[in-house]
Amino acid sequence: MIELREVGKSYGAVRAVDGVSLTIERAEFVVLIGASGSGKSTLLKMINRLVEHDQGMVLFQGAQIRTFKPEDLRRRMGYAIQSIGLFPHWTVAHNIATVPRLLGWPSERIAARVDDLLVLLDLEPALYRERYPHQLSGGQQQRVGVARALAADPEVLLMDEPFGALDPISRHALQNELVRIHTASRKTIVMVTHDVGEALRLATRIVLLDRGRIVQAGTPAQLLAHPADDFVREFFGGDELGLRLLALQPVAGRVQAGESAPGEPLPHTASLRDALAQFVSRRVSRLPVADATSGRVLGAIHFGDLLAPPPPP
């Protein structure tokens, strides 16, 4: 869907992005992560030509992005940044309708789409449609920003630290919404963040950048289990790397069926990290596990199972 071939961008003598090659497939959720100055934002903005690359080439749907008019290209890619990006003089509905209006949709279709998106992002349409951005909380503003980026059903969604300014609770809620939207719509999402937890939670593939180059790219589990070097290890938490790896895996895969253990059962969707916390706080070495929806006990997990799956019976 998007292909970067040896792209680069210089600002004076500084190479902000230096020979990056990356192919992003349809329905991937790619998170570009790195410290500030790593070139992650510049790389993202090269995709919709907010920043023009001066080396290599960028392909979108097989065609060089320079063959598109910038406006046409951008209208096919949703774009969201921190909440300050809402147009303060437009109502919520008008903000969300920005791209559909540019594309000349009929007004009934726009109104219906706005309401659908408000519902999708958990904002009551009748209540929020006519409000101005300053009348919303930070989390609500960001929901509107995401809705606006999705409005014209773009093929790609580009997000530049979209949840950076939010408190942890709203951020978590929006991350969950985004995962839900991604799973349901199979949209290609490229997101920039400096928050390791966010990257691990959301990405199907993480691209770690440093000084304009890709250090390592892969699934969250790959990066945590096989960091390419000390830089990657350090970046993903050093000593906490093991805990983060546990957080990525559900209890379900480690359950010894048929076994039982005393106490309140863990839901099978809980992570191994949750299980570890329970082992320590309950001072036990075995925990019962139950199906999260039905409540039926599935078996038990042993402390030693945290390290490796139990042998097949």
Binding site: Y79, H89, T98
Partner: protein, 251 residues
């Protein structure tokens, strides 16, 4: 109409002052006995060469024409130097604006006469030039006040440069721009009074004639009407500003 709303209406100064202005402009002759009592030493205590209504109309026409001219030119100049293409001219325009603002309006009028002659035209040009400065400055400041994130998103969502200007930059700059237009127009209302020295027919005429003939009553009549015009227009702008700034955080 309920009583609280009537109370609000009575407390609002704009209708009262507008009524006073209309009353003075059309009914000045009714106040002749008052001025006769105030200034018993004057033979003619009321300016009667021309009606105040006609002077008011001509005054407003000159202010409106010159303000419209400075608005068009000033906004165009301000927008030009905040575009990518005009960026290099910005220091030049800002310097001109800064220098221009230090010249007093009377001097602009005085300089206009030898170049253009007497009459309404030099007054119009001098007023338009002088009113230009606050508008250019306000346009630049207004465009600068638009948050960077808004511009980035406007580009990122695929607005063209013209759409970005018309749909986001100008509306967001409007409150600041309006403040500049307001001060420009208010300055022009005052300066237009002085413009009667170069032969323009404005509400300054009674003041000039009064000063030349030691007729304090004439000066007072002209000055009160000019002051009322300025206050009424200023309040009108305030009203306009609060209507256009509905989206802002201030209630």
């Amino acid at each position: 109409m309920t009583w609280p709303r009537l109370g609000c209406l009575l407390r609002d100064p704009l209708p009262w002052l507008a009524t006073a202005l209309v009353l003075l402009a059309w009914g000045m002759p009714w106040f002749k006995p008052l001025f006769a009592a105030l200034f018993p030493e004057l033979d003619r205590p009321l300016y009667e060469q021309e009606s105040f209504a006609a002077l008011l109309a001509s005054h407003l026409a000159i202010v409106a024409a010159s303000s419209a001219l400075s608005l068009v030119v000033g906004v165009a100049a301000g927008l030009f130097v905040t575009r990518h293409a005009g960026r290099e001219f910005r220091p030049l325009v800002e310097t001109l604006v800064a220098i221009g603002q230090t010249v007093p309006p009377v001097a602009v009028l005085a300089l206009a006469v030898p170049l253009i002659g007497f009459g309404a035209l030099p007054a119009l040009i001098a007023l338009a030039l002088y009113g230009l400065l606050p508008i250019v400055r306000a346009t630049i400041a207004g465009i600068e006040s638009v948050p960077r994130g808004v511009l980035e998103v406007a580009d990122g969502l695929g607005l063209t440069q013209l759409q970005r200007l018309l749909r986001t930059e100008l509306p967001l700059a409007l409150p600041v721009l309006l403040a500049g237009v307001r001060s420009s127009v208010i300055i022009n209302i005052g300066t237009a009074a002085i413009a009667s020295t170069v032969g323009a027919r404005t509400l300054g005429l009674p003041i000039i004639v009064g000063l030349a003939g030691f007729n304090t009553a004439y000066v007072l009549q002209g000055a009160v009407v000019v002051a009322l015009v300025a206050v009424v227009v200023d309040l009108g702008f305030e009203r306009l500003g609060s209507r256009w700034g509905r989206w802002r955080a201030t209630v």
